[in-house]
Symmetry: C2
Subunit: 314 residues, 2 copies
C-alpha cells in the first residue's frame, strides 16, 4: 500500500505525485508510511467498512465537474455508506488511477477528497496510485459503531423518513446528458453531495430500526431495504420532499442522492423542524413499513414509474 508501490510512472513522477498528495493533505494524512495503516477501533464498537469506485466515463464526464468536486464527490459517496450504517468515520483510503492528462489536477482532486473527509472528521489512512487510461477513484472507508444500523431491521408499523429534497442529481444528469445547463440548485446537489453522517448518528441514537442510503434512487433502495427486512414499503407520493422543478416520477428514480431512507419505530416522536434547525437538512416522513406483500414497494397517490433504474452513462 502506501507509499504507493505500484505506481506505473517513472520513479521521479511517482514520488513527486505522492509528495504532492501528502502535502495537500498535510496533517490529515500524517499516519501514512508503512505497508499498511494502523487504526484503533474504540473498545465495544464494531468495525464498519465499505469500498466504492468512481470512474471517469462510467460515473461522470470530466467536463461536468471541477477536479475538486470529483474528488469530494467520490469520497462523499463512499462516506455515505458509513452514514447508512450509522457509523462514525475512522479512516479513508484512496486508490487512485491517474491518467497523464490529469497529473496537473492531482492536488485539486486530493483537495476534494481531503475536504469531504475533513467535513466528517475522517483521517486519510493511505492509498495506492497507478497509471490509468481514465481517472479512477476507488475509496475505502472505515467507521465504527456499537450497533451498526442494517438494512434488515425494518418492522411492519415502522414509519419511513427521508433526509433532504429528492431529484436534484437526476434532474442535473438529465440536463447534462441532453446538452443543457442544469439549474444551480440541481447541479449543486449532483456535484456536491453531503454524506448524512451526523444525521444518521442522531437518528440511530433515537432508535432507528434500519437505514439505507439513496445511491440507486429511492424506489430501488426502498426495494433493497424491503427485501432485506422481509417487509413491504408504502410510499406516500404527496409527502415526498422534492426539489423545485422535479416531478414525482423523476424524484423517486434519481440516483446518487446520498440521502438516507430510515425506518423508525412508530412510538418515536421525531420533531422534523428541530431536525432541520439542527442539521440544515429537511427530514420528511414519507411512508411506512407494512407486512410483506407481493410488491417490495407501492406508492400511494401515484403510480410506480416503469423505469426504476438509475441512469448510467452506458
Amino acid at each position: 500500500m502506501s507509499p504507493l508501490p505500484h505506481l506505473a510512472m517513472a520513479d521521479g513522477a511517482e514520488f513527486d505525485a505522492i509528495r504532492r498528495m501528502l502535502t495537500t493533505w498535510s496533517a490529515q494524512a500524517e499516519g501514512i508510511g508503512d505497508d499498511a495503516a494502523i487504526l484503533d477501533i474504540p473498545h465495544g464498537e464494531r468495525l464498519v467498512v465499505s469500498t466504492d469506485a468512481s470512474v471517469e466515463g462510467v460515473h461522470f464526464k470530466r467536463e461536468w465537474f471541477s477536479a475538486e468536486e470529483i474528488g469530494a464527490r467520490a469520497a462523499s459517496a463512499a462516506l455515505s455508506d458509513l452514514a447508512a450504517m450509522a457509523a462514525t468515520p475512522r479512516g479513508l483510503l484512496l486508490a487512485l488511477g491517474l491518467p497523464s492528462g490529469w497529473r496537473s489536477e492531482l492536488e485539486a482532486v486530493a483537495r476534494g477528497v481531503g475536504a469531504a473527509a475533513a467535513a466528517v472528521q475522517c483521517p486519510i489512512l493511505g492509498g495506492n496510485m497507478t497509471a490509468s487510461e481514465v481517472l479512477t477513484l476507488t475509496i475505502t472507508v472505515l467507521g465504527s459503531a456499537a450497533h451498526p444500523l442494517r438494512r434488515s431491521g425494518a418492522l411492519p408499523g415502522d414509519l419511513l423518513y427521508v433526509t433532504g429534497l429528492l431529484g436534484g442529481p437526476g434532474a442535473a444528469l438529465r440536463d447534462l446528458l441532453r446538452g443543457a445547463t442544469p439549474s444551480a440548485e440541481h447541479r449543486a446537489r449532483f456535484a456536491q453531495p453531503s454524506p448524512r453522517v451526523r444525521e444518521a448518528l442522531w437518528l440511530a441514537e433515537l432508535g432507528a430500526h434500519a437505514a439505507i442510503d439513496i445511491s440507486d434512487g429511492l424506489l430501488s433502495d426502498a426495494a433493497h431495504l424491503a427485501r432485506a427486512s422481509a417487509v413491504s414499503i408504502q410510499i406516500d407520493a404527496e409527502s415526498l420532499p422534492r426539489m423545485s422543478g422535479v416531478e414525482i416520477d423523476n424524484a423517486v428514480i434519481s440516483g446518487e442522492e446520498y440521502e438516507l431512507l430510515v425506518a423508525m419505530p412508530p412510538d418515536v416522536v421525531l420533531d422534523e423542524r428541530a431536525f432541520e434547525a439542527r442539521f440544515g437538512v429537511r427530514l420528511s416522513r414519507m411512508g411506512r413499513v407494512v407486512p410483506r406483500e407481493h410488491a417490495d414497494v407501492t406508492m400511494i397517490g401515484a403510480d410506480v414509474p416503469r423505469s426504476t433504474g438509475h441512469d448510467h452513462l452506458r
Copy 2:
C-alpha cells in the same frame, strides 16, 4: 458498497454478475448485503488496513496469466501488506472494474481471489463492481495485530533475513517482455505468489523489530526500511538466496516478490532449517542493520546495480 450499486451495466447483467461472484465464493462471503460490511476486531488488537490495485496493461498483460491467477495474484499482493505488518487477515474487499470482454471470466477471477483469501483464512467482506475499459482489481485487506510490525523499528546491530528465493518474478517478466517463455519455476513465482502471513506471525512472535514486503525489489524496499528506521543496511551479496539462473544484479531489483525482509535483534537464535521445515520456504540471513550512513543500502561482495527500480509496463 455491496450490493455493488454503481455497476454500469443493465440491471440484469449487474445482478447476474453479483450472483455469480457470490455463488463462486459461497460461504467465504456470507456476510455480504448491507451498505457496508461489519467486522469485529479482537479486543486488545489494532486494525491494520491496506489497499492495492492491479490493472491490466499496467501491472500485467492478459496473455501472461490465467484469469484465476490474475485474481489470486491481486489478492496475494494485497494480503502481503498484512504479512509485512505481521497482522492476521480478517477481511478482504474487492472493487472490480470489469470490461465486457472479461465477463465470461468473472467466476475464474473470483475463484482466484477466493483461493488466495482462503489460503490465509481471510473472509470476503464485500466489494464494488463497475464497467471498465481494462480489468482492474482494487483490493482492500483488513487485519489485526496486538503489535503491528512497522518499517521503522530496525536498530543498528539487527540481523536481516529474507524469506524465499529471489529473482523469479523479475526473470519471468524479462522473458515475457522480450517474447520468450519463462522457465516453469520462474513463472510460478511470478504468477502464483504467496503472501508470507504465517511466516510473519512466527517471526514477529520471536521478536522481529521491523519488516517490509518486497514489492518494488529488495534494494528499493531495503532503502524504504532504512529510511523509515533512520539506519543504513548492508546486504551480503553472497548470502542472497536466488532462484536458479538469476544473477545477483537481477535478484536485488526483482519486484513483486512478496517475500519478507525482516530485521531481527541479534540475540534471537533463528533456526533456518526449522523454519524451512515448518513453512516449506527458505529463510536466509543476508545482511545487517548499521548506524545511519550516507547511503541507505550498501552491498558487500557486489556493486549496487545502477537501476534499482521496478520494471513497469509503461
